[in-house]
């Protein structure tokens, strides 16, 4: 069946079978390969994408359920090709990854988390990513990356605010 998906701010028409998962459609039809198939039963979180800003398991959602929602994939986070978001930069600076396979899912989860918790503690961050399995890092540098991003974003907001009041 035909349907239109809103992905990373662009409307895209796709043809999907009723049994196709959103993960399959994103990868195979939309050629957005940043979402990865890890377990395909909703545990590992490698397929995480944002639906209306909330992290979801794209392996557990049918494509036909994704009509009329806003989907954000990892490809939608970087402001433009070659430039990373503050959060993505922080992951590079803290080496919050190794093989990179779980990384898009974790960055999207962290992106959603930081949009509603601007000053998280270490414990908050550990809670936030506890639904995403990483086999390489033992999570230490991932937590550091997210805390680093949080402090940089706070700094950015403070600077924007200061600029706003000074003009």
């Amino acid at each position: 069946m035909k349907l239109a998906l809103n992905i990373n701010g662009t409307r895209q028409e796709v043809v999907a079978e009723p049994r196709d998962t959103l993960l399959d459609t994103l990868r195979e039809k939309c050629k957005l390969n940043g979402a990865h198939a890890g377990c395909e039963h909703g545990v590992c979180g490698a397929c995480t994408v944002l639906v209306d800003g909330e992290p979801i398991r794209s392996c557990l959602m049918f494509t036909v359920q994704a009509d009329d929602v806003e989907i954000t994939t990892i490809e939608g986070l970087a402001p433009c090709k070659g430039v990373l978001s503050v959060l993505q930069e922080a992951f590079c600076d803290a080496h919050g990854m190794q093989c990179g396979f779980c990384t898009p899912g974790i960055i999207l989860t962290a992106h959603a988390f930081l949009s509603c918790n601007v000053a998280p503690t270490r414990e908050d961050v550990v809670d936030a990513i506890s639904g995403n399995i990483c086999r390489c890092t033992g999570y230490g540098q991932i937590v550091e990356a997210i805390l680093l991003a949080a402090s940089r974003l706070q700094q950015e907001r403070a600077e924007t605010l200061a600029e706003g009041t000074s003009t």
Binding site: E17, R19, R27, L32, N33, G34, A35, H36, A37, G38, C39, E40, H41, V43, C44, A46, T73, I74, E75, L77, A78, L84, Q88, E89, F91, C92, D93, A94, H95, M97, Q98, C99, G100, F101, C102, T103, P104, I107, R122, V126, D127, I129, S130, G131, N132, I133, C134, R135, C136, T137, G138, Y139, G140, Q141, I142, V143
Partner: protein, 795 residues
């Protein structure tokens, strides 16, 4: 050699890991991301029986479905391909990608279905009907060893390997020692279970007669094995190394998947892909780790000095040989751990059973062995009422005793175990840690301190092969680097393997940058395909910092020597008076040739080149492993060259009823010599500890009595989440290796090699007052809770 490099410009500095940018952007190039025109897909039909004769395969209903191209059976493969490689001399243990004639474990692949899409292939796979006649099966390693029906009738028994080594005067030492003790510990069947399953895409071109292969592979001699199995020339297999591997830690060795996919591609003249689903991965991916029973006898004295050990290690290899038996061989290179133990007896037994096949797992058998050795130290301390750390300090090899040759023939390169332990004790404030444990106990909790001191043999060679299979006469184990400087002065470095998150592009760029004195950001690192590559033995055995690191450095040295020759010719002086500093060549009278000038001379000014010098600017180096270059003699051999050291000190607490262990503190002292990249070494160490905590507390492939794998998903096979991993504190120490250019040692297996022993040690300390102990990993919450309840009932 270390004195020549008192300070580094790039080595040991926190250079960003260059691979991270593409991964953070979702731009990794994993095998499942690669598509070829007209690509077909494979789905698999698996055996439901632990062992059964295949009577009949009905595949007409599958073949007649639209979009289905082929159904392949084991009989096809047996007729047209050669068996997969065995490391041991066990010709009766034949393995093909699909079961031939009979199945040997539940989940084993029997039929492959090829269709336009994976979904169609799965639909068709459901239409395949197989008639079986169930056979006897064996799951228990002791029963397999004692003579249960052989898994492979042609082999005649279940014993793949049964070899007893006696190094030194074991019986005399036992007779002379005033005390001895015996125990059994068991390492459960777990694995590293990468989040990316194994995948392979093969594309045969009948006009060029080349099989192109893209795979999430981490395995030495991969292209050679495909060539041999398919009976095509080695020059007809082109493995693409520019594929990002989504985690491996040893297990990504899908040779059966690759031979099957290559065979189908060749037969159909089409691109064909096989990506395991999680179930295929867990029950038949050939990716389970060691599953080992240790029976240990220890001879020691009243002071806690250990004089001798007898170790019997019985390993359940699963249904096929694979690399499993060799995982009993590698630990021979550190069979006494960091301790001065005078003599050792080691019986290594590997048996087949009707379980999934075992493959290489992080540490290649060393983590289970370390767990067995560390248990000995704890038990000796308990028996004598001594402090467990004191017993370790007493038995440690001393820093002035290196190089130190252990009874099994390996020489440890360097180390200062006392210094690392001291640093950790001071950092942790050990007395306070003990006080904290005691305070928790007074609150009614069970609390324990865990200690593990162990080695990470690194630099990987294959000495265990000739040691366990005298027909194998190999001593060569290498890695390589090629540097090409183009006509504009750009530097491109080639490395010749895939990576699975270890940051080899960063490693190569940093080392070449150090050698040439240029910014690593200006260096391009590429991975040519296997037909364009120099030999590599891939990232196994914690070897890349050592082997690729040294290869890159030596190649840079050759570039420097070449440019000094150019300088000497142009300055009209002796080469000894020419110096290369940060890309510029200086003569004895302050003459200089800049990098740009040198490059121009090499590429455009043949008239300025010394006589006999070829134009262009490039260098290659193939690095042979620094030790282990002789065949074994008298059952002794030099195993890996370098020996990193780790000292774990942890505090674990749990409620006596719930028994869910919480790790309150985790401190690790880590000495891997000179660190090339601090980000990468930290990540390896933290990740290794997380794997170790998983192996100690959560992870196990469990079979029921019928031989069915009952942990078939991530809801049954539990892995640590961020909640289970504490904030880990790393205490660094650096004892450079005398065998490497920068003094670096390996760190790819760090953390994992001691964490399971440390967790076991802590839990046993916590429950020791109850008069019980746990001697099997993983220590699951329910089993621990039951053991405590039973002990309470008795008391």
């Amino acid at each position: 050699m270390n004195d020549a490099f008192p300070k580094y410009k790039y080595i040991s500095t926190p250079q960003l890991v260059r691979e991270d940018r593409r991964f953070a952007a979702g731009g990794g190039n994993y095998v499942a991301d690669i598509e070829k025109e007209g690509m077909l897909h494979i789905a698999l039909v698996a055996s439901h029986h632990a062992a059964a004769k295949i009577i009949e395969i009905e595949n007409e209903n599958a073949l007649s479905m639209p979009g289905v191209h082929l159904v392949v059976t084991g009989a096809d493969l047996a007729a047209e391909t050669s068996p997969l490689m065995n490391g041991l001399d066990t010709p009766g243990v034949r393995r093909f990608p699909l079961a031939v004639g009979q199945t040997r474990y539940a989940g084993e692949w029997v039929v492959a279905v090829v269709a336009d899409s994976r979904a169609l292939a799965e639909d068709a796979a459901e239409k395949v009907r197989i008639k079986y006649e169930p056979l006897d099966y064996v799951l228990d390693a002791e029963k397999a060893y004692a003579g249960a029906t052989p898994v492979h009738t042609e082999h005649g028994s279940n014993i793949l390997l049964d070899k007893t080594f006696v190094w030194g005067t074991v019986e005399e030492d036992f007779a002379a020692a005033p005390r001895n003790l015996s125990y059994r510990v068991t390492w459960g069947r777990n694995s590293t279970v990468p989040i990316e399953t194994f995948g392979v895409l093969a594309s045969w071109n009948a006009w060029t007669e080349v099989l192109d292969v893209w795979a999430s592979i981490q395995m030495p001699k991969y292209a050679d094995q495909i060539s041999r199995a398919l009976g095509i020339p080695s020059t007809s297999v082109r493995v693409h190394y520019d594929v990002d591997v989504g985690g491996s830690y040893g297990v990504k060795r899908g040779i059966k998947h690759s031979v099957l996919t290559g065979y189908i591609s060749k037969r159909l003249n089409r691109a064909v892909r096989l990506i395991e689903d999680r179930l295929e991965n867990m029950r038949a991916g050939d990716a389970h780790g060691p599953n080992r029973i240790f029976d240990v006898d220890v001879a020691y004295d009243e002071e806690g000095i250990i004089h001798s050990m007898k170790i019997r290690a019985l390993d359940n290899a699963g249904a096929y040989a694979g690399r499993a038996p060799f995982q009993l061989g590698k630990p021979i290179g550190a069979i006494v751990g960091p301790y001065k133990i005078h003599s050792v007896q080691y019986q290594a037994i590997s048996v087949t059973t009707n379980m999934a096949a075992q493959e290489a797992v992080r540490g290649f058998g060393q983590a289970p062995t370390n767990y067995a050795i560390e248990t000995a130290i704890d038990k000796v301390a308990y028996e004598l009422g001594l402090d467990r750390i004191d017993v370790r300090l007493q038995n440690f090899i001393k820093s002035d005793e290196f190089p130190y040759k252990i009874p099994s023939g390996t020489e440890y390169d360097s180390g200062d175990y006392h210094a690392v332990a001291d640093k950790v004790m001071n950092y942790a404030d050990y007395k306070n840690l003990v006080a904290e444990r005691n305070r928790l106990r007074l609150e009614g909790m069970l609390a324990g301190i865990g200690i593990a001191a162990c080695l990470e043999p690194s630099g990987g060679n294959s000495s265990f092969e000739p040691l366990l299979n005298p027909k194998t006469k190999t001593t060569t184990w290498m890695d390589s680097c090629r540097i090409h400087v183009d006509a504009l002065g750009g530097v491109t470095v080639s490395i010749h393997t895939t990576s699975a998150g270890q940051g080899h592009e960063t490693l190569a760029s940093v080392v070449v940058a150090e050698g040439l004195g240029i910014d690593p950001k200006k260096i391009r690192v590429v991975r040519p395909d296997s037909l364009n590559s120099l030999p590599s033995n891939t990232p196994v055995g914690s070897r890349m910092a050592i082997m690729l690191g040294d290869a890159c450095f030596e190649a840079a040295e050759k570039i420097k020597m070449h440019l000094r020759k150019v300088g000497a010719h142009n300055f009209g002086c002796d080469i000894a008076d020419v110096h290369f500093i940060d890309g510029t060549v200086f003569g004895p009278e302050r003459q200089q040739l800049s990098w740009d000038r040198l490059v121009t001379i090499c590429h455009r000014e043949f008239h300025n080149l010394p006589e006999g010098m070829s134009p262009g600017l490039h260098a290659s180096h193939i690095k042979q492993v620094p030790s282990g270059t002789k065949l074994p003699e008298n059952d002794q051999v030099q195993m890996y060259p370098c020996h990193s050291f780790e000292f774990h000190l942890i505090l674990v607490v749990f409620d006596p009823i719930l028994a869910k262990p919480e790790i309150k503190r985790y401190i690790i002292g880590h000495d891997c010599g000179t660190i090339i990249n601090p980000h990468i070494v930290k990540g390896m160490t933290l990740g290794g500890i997380a794997h170790g905590i998983g192996a100690a507390l959560l992870e196990e492939f469990v079979y029921d009595e019928q031989g069915q794998l009952i942990t078939q998903s991530f809801m049954d096979y539990l892995m640590p989440s961020s909640h289970e991993i504490p904030e880990i504190e790393i205490v660094h120490h650096c004892t450079p290796s005398p065998l490497t250019v920068f003094g670096q040692k390996g760190s790819g297996e760090s953390g994992y090699l001691g964490a399971p022993a440390a967790v076991s040690s802590a839990i046993n300390d916590a429950i020791s007052d109850l008069g019980i102990s746990v001697d099997k990993l993983p220590i699951k919450i329910a089993q621990l809770s039951d053991a405590i309840a039973a002990a309470d009932g008795k008391n």
